[in-house]
């Protein structure tokens, strides 16, 4: 089952906005979980029409992260990404991309895409989100 992660600002009504937008596009939500951080909400969903849901999130201006990427919460400081990247290179796992998704001082949400997602996940359990 494919899952989607949304990282957005922590505010009232954000879950309703997501569920209503998906309902309007006739997309069925199979599971939904919300994780609250200081100023951010991380929402994990599984839906019946994955690609259409990603399109809906793009249309409503929400940053959706597909399951190809790993979402991490790291200290927002120089070199923090580098330390994580080191874990992958030491394990011989190639990195496709690393991108900063959202800052939530003193942390930052980071999405990483690697060549071997399953193995990569085990290397970053301590900072994994969702």
């Amino acid at each position: 089952m494919k899952h989607i992660t949304i990282v957005t600002e922590r505010r009232l009504g954000v879950v309703s906005e997501i569920t209503e937008s998906l309902a309007a596009a006739e997309i069925n939500i199979e599971t939904i979980q919300t994780e609250l951080h200081d100023n951010s909400s991380v929402i994990n969903l599984t839906v019946d029409r994955y690609d259409n849901a990603l399109q809906v999130f793009q249309n409503i201006g929400m940053h959706a992260i597909s399951e190809d990427a790993i979402l991490l919460r790291l200290k927002d400081e120089p070199g923090a990404l580098a330390k994580i990247a080191r874990r992958f290179t030491d394990a011989g796992i190639g990195i496709r991309s690393i991108g900063l998704i959202k800052r939530d001082q003193p942390f930052a949400f980071v999405a990483i895409s690697t060549e071997r997602t399953a193995e990569a996940l085990s290397l970053v359990e301590d900072v994994l989100v969702g």
Partner: protein
């Protein structure tokens, strides 16, 4: 810009279709007068080139290669490229380029070259890089790492140094911002090269995204390092921004030895065309050529000095009314806190997170700035957005 007050009565369309065109033109005319947030000049008049619009002109292929499609403007395109090559201190006969559809295509070209030279290279770009770059990286399947930005929008060099240390064995493809979209911040090429040198990384490629600043820095007295003399391998500059054009366009230039490599790579398809698209717009090279000859270097210099003067005026005026505004050295992007969203929308001001910006382009007048600030003050007084209160 010459405003065409067309009635469209001569169009071979129904009355309702003519009316729709007129409505659109009227709306564009009104909105163009309140257009402060985006880096495009409206100060151009290419009406004497309109006869060219009656032909199916096409600059298909490489501008330096003979084409069987004779309805082209390749010779003018080459002159435009020669002008930019000199402006950017390129080695004599050492660069190749073409007129693109805009800055993004030039950036794609630069990353494409870097990726072809170093197929396993890692692209480094800062958090404040234009949104189109991650898209390009995805299209090119280029491995990439985003580097943190400093609060002023410039690359965080400590983060860059620490990240690149981990990938010392991987060639580095640096995407340097010479003027970020939101703050006009410029990544320091001297520092970037120092970091590469300290880590003994010799396999690297630097692309400069100088969409707006590429037409500013050549005309100021103390420019930041940004051109071929500063060690870049390729550069992208927009034509429709500072020069101005009704059709988006730009210039991509790269060191010739890099392009030769691409040319070899495409030989198998029987063409030496190293541009990205096939058919290419033949009109925008004429616009750029016309502007270059109409204004000349002195005209551009005067135009840039005026833009900077209006930027200074904007900073001063905003600060005078209690709104903290600032700009980077040699930048025409004036940054201030996001406030009074109704007013920002009216003046088409771009916002990002908690900041907004005005870009003082050649057509931006002090009168417009005054009117905008009057609106802003009124908007805050009417409390249309509480965030504005804290700055006044």
């Amino acid at each position: 810009m010459a405003v065409q007050q067309g009635s469209f009565e001569d169009c071979c369309l129904s009355e309702s279709h003519n009316k729709r065109l007129k409505t659109l033109l009227d709306s564009i005319h009104i909105e163009a007068d309140r257009f402060l947030g985006y880096p495009v000049s409206q100060q151009f008049d290419y009406s004497c080139l309109f006869p060219f619009l009656t032909y199916p002109m096409n600059n298909v292929g490489d501008p330096y290669t003979q084409s069987n499609y004779h309805l082209n403007s390749h010779s003018f395109e080459r002159e435009v490229l020669a002008f930019f090559s000199k402006l950017l201190n390129a080695p004599d006969d050492g660069v190749w380029g073409y007129v693109t559809n805009g800055g993004t295509e030039g950036n794609m070209y630069g990353i494409y070259l870097g990726r072809e030279i170093f197929p396993n290279g890692m692209v480094y770009y800062s958090e404040d890089t234009h949104y189109s770059v991650p898209k390009i990286l995805r299209i090119l399947s280029a491995r990439n790492i985003m580097i943190k930005s400093q609060p002023n929008g410039e690359m965080d060099y400590q983060d860059f140094a620490e990240t690149i240390s981990i990938f010392r064995d991987v060639p580095a493809i640096i995407f340097a911002n010479i003027g970020t979209t939101m703050t006009g911040a410029m990544d320091n090429l001297t520092k970037i090269k120092e970091i590469l040198k300290q880590r003994a990384i010799t396999n690297y490629y630097i692309h400069a995204d100088a969409a707006l600043a590429g037409m500013i820095l050549p005309f100021v007295d103390h420019p930041q390092p940004f051109d071929f003399s500063s060690g870049i391998d390729s550069i992208s500059i927009s034509g429709h921004k500072m020069i101005g054009s009704p059709i988006p366009c730009g210039v991509a230039l790269a060191r010739k030895n890099h392009v030769a490599r691409i040319a070899r790579a495409v030989e198998y398809v029987g063409t030496l065309d190293t541009t990205i698209s096939g058919s290419r717009n033949a009109i925008s090279p004429l616009f750029l050529w016309y502007a270059i000859h109409q204004k000349g270097k002195l005209g551009f210099r005067s135009m840039i000095q005026n833009c900077i003067s209006v930027a200074n005026y904007t900073v001063d005026r905003l600060n005078q009314v209690g709104i903290k505004a600032w700009r980077h050295k040699n930048s025409v992007t004036v940054i201030f806190p996001k406030m009074s969203e109704k007013v920002l929308k009216k003046w088409q001001i771009a916002v990002h997170r908690d900041i907004a910006h005005i870009i003082t382009m050649p057509n931006t007048s002090k009168t417009q700035i005054n009117a905008f600030i009057d609106d802003l003050i009124q908007g805050i007084e009417e409390n249309d957005d509480v965030t504005g209160k804290q700055y006044v």
